[in-house]
Assembly symmetry: C2
Homo-oligomer: 140 residues x 2
DNA sequence: TTTTGTTTGCAACATTATTTCATTTGACAT
DNA sequence: ATGTCAAATGAAATAATGTTGCAAACAAAA
């Protein structure tokens, strides 16, 4: 499903910034930060428009935001846009050394029962450590 | 265990900003943001010193940082400083309505097995929803 | 093609975080 | 108690991140 189709499906106008952001995320194997998206957008990048587009895409459920730590925010396409039907119900891995972030789409978030009175809406799980590239046990 | 004792235990110098930050967190039932700590510090608050003190206290394992979302960061004393011996191995709850954050000290983080090659160091879990005060099911 | 409401992009602003460096201070030894 | 010195503070400057208001541009539908 390409950017135009995704936007249409969600009844959003097809605009250049939106299309470019979706393309950037779609062609990347990993979630991207604002600056990484910026690099892929070239001329079409405008900071404010980026923030507003991201907001719209998040609300529509087209992308999800991953907050790896207090200074690292990245974005990824939701897999439901690709035919499979996961939600943002998977675990994320953040490499403390190279700052890479990985969607572990196959590792589902386990459920917790909250104390009574609390209403659960969503659950974010970020595992931190060393990725395969930074693990000294693995020779490259 | 008071602030002076905690600092001594970790071989850190007893300074006014550190003591005041620890006291602020110790006397609060909930994790505090920078501004909430600031309010409790009065004259003794300086932004740069706050950031550096927090960094030191984090490294020493005296406090933990909770990143509730991309714009909400809070801090809490580690319970091991209070006699019990939990680590920062518990789930956090974030109320999307009133932005309150709660350490669910009794709800331990479940373990995940990562794909081979990844090294796990820590795991952050934030559950979002409505707290007991914001849950319309509960009459106040 | 004309209309209409949405989206964009600029400017200005607010908040959060980091680096450099001179001054102060806590801890320890005298 | 006093002096010493490394460590910590606080001021200034800078960078990075996020938000709001508004006029012009644009997408989608008539
Ligand atoms: Mn993901
Ligand atoms: Mn906690
Ligand atoms: Zn890595
Ligand atoms: Zn609440």
């Amino acid at each position: 499903m390409n950017a135009a189709e995704i936007l249409k499906t969600h009844q959003l106008k097809k605009t250049s910034p939106r299309v470019t952001i979706i393309n950037a995320l779609q062609t990347s194997q990993f979630p991207l930060s604002e600056n990484e998206v910026k690099d892929k957008m070239g001329e079409l990048y405008d900071r404010i428009t980026f923030y507003r587009s991201v907001h719209t895409l998040l609300e529509a459920g087209i992308i999800h935001r991953i907050v790896a730590d207090n200074t690292t925010v990245k974005y990824a396409l939701n897999h439901c846009n690709e035919g499979h039907h996961h939600e943002a119900d998977h675990v994320h891995f953040f490499c403390e050394q190279c700052k890479a972030l990985v969607c572990l789409n196959d590792i589902k978030i386990q459920s917790y029962s909250l104390p009574s009175g609390f209403v659960k809406k969503e659950c974010d799980v970020v595992i931190k450590g060393l990725c395969t590239s930074c693990n000294p046990q693995i020779e490259q």
